[in-house]
Symmetry: C2
Subunit: 187 residues, 2 copies
């Protein structure tokens, strides 16, 4: 018997959610980064705050994702990564990521983004060269995965704001806590 | 001869722009407010910062609005207010506002919002009762109008976060600088 619900396509999923103008979002995010730079002085501190902010957001977004996407349990980290890249990015940012550069163990991979609504109109001034402008995104991934029992480390290895040809974040699974259900699965 | 371009409908306009998930936007905006509350201590200072942030965003958004909406000169403040309510709000937030409570001079009116994506899931703790959570919106209006030569004061008179039945901001035109064109209009 096929599953009662099949996961939606990324396009259907994106069409099914409430949306706001991407430029408004981009400018709002830019305003946060500017505010943090003014308040915190140290670029390294700003990077940490953006990551923490993303983590908090990710722990919330995962609920909306699971509720709307019809995705149920992913078999392994690989399937989870594909789901985030194809459905998660699409549902929230309207773009998809490519999953690539898997290590032999299947516990580390890269998400590559060629289109990133977060950075439209952004140029880093010389004084901010250490800024990880998109740290909110890596934080969101880390926060969302932790809610489904996967502890990860997420780091940026390519960044178009620093002159690279794409955005690439490296996601390393460090610990997977088996989910325990209070009920037996009947499948 | 009819004008070569007619303004788009709000729905067509909203469909024509890049969009992101509203919940992501809401949570991101919530993260800014939380950050400012942590950094600035005084609620009144947070209100000012949110307004200033909105002003800066508004001065940018007006360009996208004029470029995409096919709106050309509005005849007066009344037409401008209607355009913002029906097209501006729709284009950026996906909702429309009602324009109401005009004064006799036609220089002060209210925008009433019944649906406000900024505040989904938000509850103000008792310690934040003076917080004008949506000040970014009034700042956006003020900034955008200033770019089309209308100086305004914008204040919140109803706020659902404080128990009112809708969101209402009062917009008062304080000064209108006639636009001077370097060229003659041929219409």
């Amino acid at each position: 018997m096929p599953p009662l619900t099949t996961p939606k396509s990324g396009d259907a999923l994106f069409a099914s959610v409430e949306r706001v103008n991407a430029e408004l979002f981009t400018l709002t995010y830019g305003a946060i980064v500017r505010q943090l730079l003014t308040d915190l002085e140290e670029v390294e501190e700003v990077n940490k705050q953006l990551d923490q902010m993303g983590y908090n957001i990710g722990t919330r977004l995962v609920d909306e994702f699971l509720a709307k996407s019809n995705v149920s349990n992913c078999a392994d980290f690989k399937e989870t990564a594909d789901t985030i890249a194809k459905l998660g990015f699409k549902m929230f940012l309207g773009v998809t990521a490519t999953v690539t550069n898997w290590d032999a163990e299947g516990t580390t991979c890269s998400f590559v983004l060629e289109d990133n609504p977060l950075v439209d109109f952004v140029e880093l001034p010389d004084t901010c060269q250490g800024l990880q402008y998109c740290n909110v995104l890596s934080g969101v991934i880390r926060g969302a995965l932790e809610m489904v029992s996967m502890k990860t480390e997420v780091t940026w290895v390519r960044d178009m704001l620093r002159g690279d040809d794409a955005y690439e974040m490296r996601v390393k699974l460090t610990k997977q806590v088996p989910e325990e259900y209070p009920y037996k699965d009947d499948d």
